[in-house]
């Protein structure tokens, strides 16, 4: 097991280097605004722009820039300075992580609490009216884009522009440590909006897995033992049906911790996703690199945790 983890971590480093290289390559291959010109502001003289270009190291060849970046990252865990305001990117990202973690964790709780029960109820009465309604709703949930759903939610429930002034609107985020009540109030709409598609997807997955599991021989054994049907479904059926779902849930959390770009942007939550969006708009390469690397790191770590967790969830899996 230990050897397996070490091997996986070594691969993780390789992956992160590759991801960085790709980000550099994409940034310099595709047309984007000149970061030096953006930084210099309006009506800047060519000399000023050149000066800034040199200060940022943008006049060096791309491979040299990449090398310097990797050296700083490897030796000092230094992600460089934002072209925009000279603030260290690492500091910028860490400052925004709590908001992203708040959004992800809350949404995860919401989608699991909705997805699993709906999936189970649908699975035990397949093709019933309830199942059809639930699965129809799930289709809508999967199909509705987050930015549309987010705007609708704001339009209906936001405390400033909503038809019913229920929850905090866009830009109302307050940190948990500052005001727990305000934190919940401001995040309820984003939680549900972000969770909608996931809840729908998980409900369908739970339903499909559980229907399949309920046809297994060991379910028949559980019934032959005279267990109550409730226990047969939850302890025997759902237990087996949830194992593969844990894998996907771990990956989804990893992806979202890298920044829920759309949700954070619609609700103006100062998280990593919002930061990624801003840095792309501003052609801020160190910031883009930083957010991409963080996103990749979360996905890789989530992957590893899921694979390790699987060995505990399913005794047949061994590394």
């Amino acid at each position: 097991m230990a050897r397996y983890i070490v091997r996986r971590l070594a691969w993780a480093v390789v992956m992160l280097v590759v991801v960085s290289a790709l980000t550099f390559l994409i940034f310099y291959t595709f047309p984007s605004a000149d970061p030096a010109a953006l930084r210099a502001g309006r009506q800047a003289t060519p000399q000023l722009i050149e000066q800034i270009r040199h200060a940022l190291g943008l006049d060096k060849p791309v491979y040299e820039q990449f090398f310097i970046y990797m050296k700083n990252l490897g030796l000092h865990f230094d992600l460089g300075y934002s072209y925009q305001n000279n603030v260290p990117v690492r500091q910028e990202i860490f400052a925004r992580l709590p908001a992203t973690i708040s959004l992800t964790a809350g949404a995860f709780v919401v989608w699991m609490l909705i997805g699993i029960p709906v999936g189970v109820l649908s699975a035990i009465r397949p093709r019933s009216v309830g199942d059809r309604v639930a699965m129809g709703g799930a289709l809508v949930g999967i199909s509705a884009p987050v930015y549309w759903l987010g705007l609708v939610a704001l339009f209906l429930f936001a405390s400033d522009i909503g038809k019913v002034h229920l929850f905090g609107g866009a830009g109302s985020y307050v940190p948990l440590t500052q005001d727990p009540g305000g934190w919940v109030k401001s995040l309820i709409l984003p939680w549900f909006v972000l969770a909608a598609a996931f809840a729908a997807f998980y409900a369908r997955m739970v339903r499909g897995n559980l229907i399949e599991v309920m046809g297994e021989d060991y379910i028949r054994t559980a019934r032959a033992k005279g267990l109550p049907e409730r226990r047969v479904i939850l302890r025997h059926g759902l237990r087996a049906a949830l194992t593969p779902i844990v894998t996907i849930a771990g990956l989804d959390i990893g992806i979202l911790l890298g920044g829920a770009v759309l949700t954070e942007t619609v609700f103006n939550i100062p998280g990593v996703g919002r930061f990624a969006y801003d840095s792309i708009v501003n052609s801020d390469l160190p910031a883009i690199q930083g957010t991409v690397l963080f996103g990749a790191l979360f996905i890789i770590v989530a992957n590893l945790i899921v694979d390790i967790a699987y060995a505990f969830l399913d005794p047949r899996v061994r590394y």
Partner: protein
């Protein structure tokens, strides 16, 4: 006196996309304490469905079950699902063909045995565990105190089936239904498992319903045999009668298709020609007539009744009794001449 388990005119049909499948079509049979009833037939003959229906495991929205299953005087088919739950396990237990897929892969075997106890008795987890270990010892698992904490995939096929039997017998049921309990096992292990079932049956005076397609298994264990074909019993009688003087052409076919060591080797085994019939559109008249070498015109139109030919021996065939006995005398495998 009525038998412990008395199945009367059991009919089970399933609504499927292809039409109504008549899986069990009027089966009547019985088994008593300490006795073993063998249900024999090909795949799809309705033997498993018959057994599952006894404990209500065919209660599905698309299934229709009728008839009577009298257990100790109570009709199990009339019981509510909740009442039936308290019968399953402590009164009637069941073991299945493939112990690997029949045990839950994610729980330790000991836990699965404990669960059966805890579902029916108010005992502590610790006491349940002690009994699980005892049950595993009773089915001759070596080192049960260690094996309780194993997962099913960590046990051999024979040990898994022993664990299944321990789980079924831990509550000391009156009836054990064994659905092809040895089919997935090696031949040497098969014999051990059958011997185990027989000795436990003897110790606890359990009634056993043994479902199999293997006449060898039946010959070793059953007291009474019911031969099923296309959802019906076509012949039923004491084991010696069925083996020595069978009277139904289908039974003849089954017996002749067994490889034997004690008769001269023929060039090839004799399979029953044709394929099992569709249960959605069963043949008219006798269901076996399309495959029967002795078919007569009346077989195509008239259903033969299950009639007594000797005391305790029932046969559903239009052939005259004398004719059936004459044919069997010609067919029966002759022991090898002393060489």
């Amino acid at each position: 006196m009525a038998a412990l388990l008395d199945i009367h005119d059991l009919r089970v049909s399933f609504q499927t996309r292809d039409g109504v499948v008549h899986a069990v079509d009027g089966v009547s049979t019985s088994v008593d304490r300490g006795k073993t009833l063998g249900l024999v037939g090909e795949s799809g003959s309705g033997k498993s469905v018959t057994a599952l229906s006894v404990i209500g495991l065919t209660r599905l929205p698309n299934a229709e079950v009728s008839g009577q299953v009298l257990f100790d005087g109570t009709d199990l088919l009339q019981l509510s699902s909740e009442r039936l739950q308290s019968v399953r396990g402590p009164r009637i237990a069941m073991i299945f063909q493939d112990p690997l897929s029949s045990l839950h892969p994610l729980y330790r075997v000991g836990w699965q045995i404990e669960e059966a106890i805890l579902a029916h008795e108010q005992v502590s987890r610790r006491a349940a565990r002690a009994r699980a270990v005892d049950a595993m010892r009773a089915v001759e698992m070596p080192n049960p105190a260690e094996l309780v904490d194993r997962y099913p995939h960590e046990l051999s096929g024979g040990m898994r089936q022993r664990a299944m039997i321990a789980m079924a017998l831990v509550l000391n049921p009156d009836v054990l239904i064994a659905d092809e309990p040895t089919t997935a096992l090696d031949v040497t292990v098969q014999a051990q498992i059958l011997e185990l079932i027989r000795s436990l049956q003897h110790d606890f005076d359990t009634a056993v319903v043994l479902i199999t397609h293997d006449f060898g298994v039946i010959a070793e264990t059953a007291d009474e045999v019911a031969v099923m074909y296309a959802g019906r019993i076509v012949e039923q009688g004491p084991i010696d009668t069925i083996l020595e003087a069978p009277e139904h052409p289908y039974t003849w076919g089954l017996l002749q298709s067994i490889p034997r060591l004690d008769t001269p080797r023929r060039d090839r085994l004799e399979p029953i020609t044709g394929t099992p019939p569709s249960l959605v559109y069963p043949p008219t008249g006798c269901h076996f007539h399309p495959r029967c070498p002795y078919v007569m015109p009346m077989c195509r139109t008239m259903d033969p009744e299950l009639l007594q030919s000797d005391p305790g021996h029932f046969v559903a065939c239009h052939l005259p009794v004398a004719e059936r006995r004459r044919i069997w005398q010609e067919l029966r495998p002759k022991p090898a001449e002393a060489a």
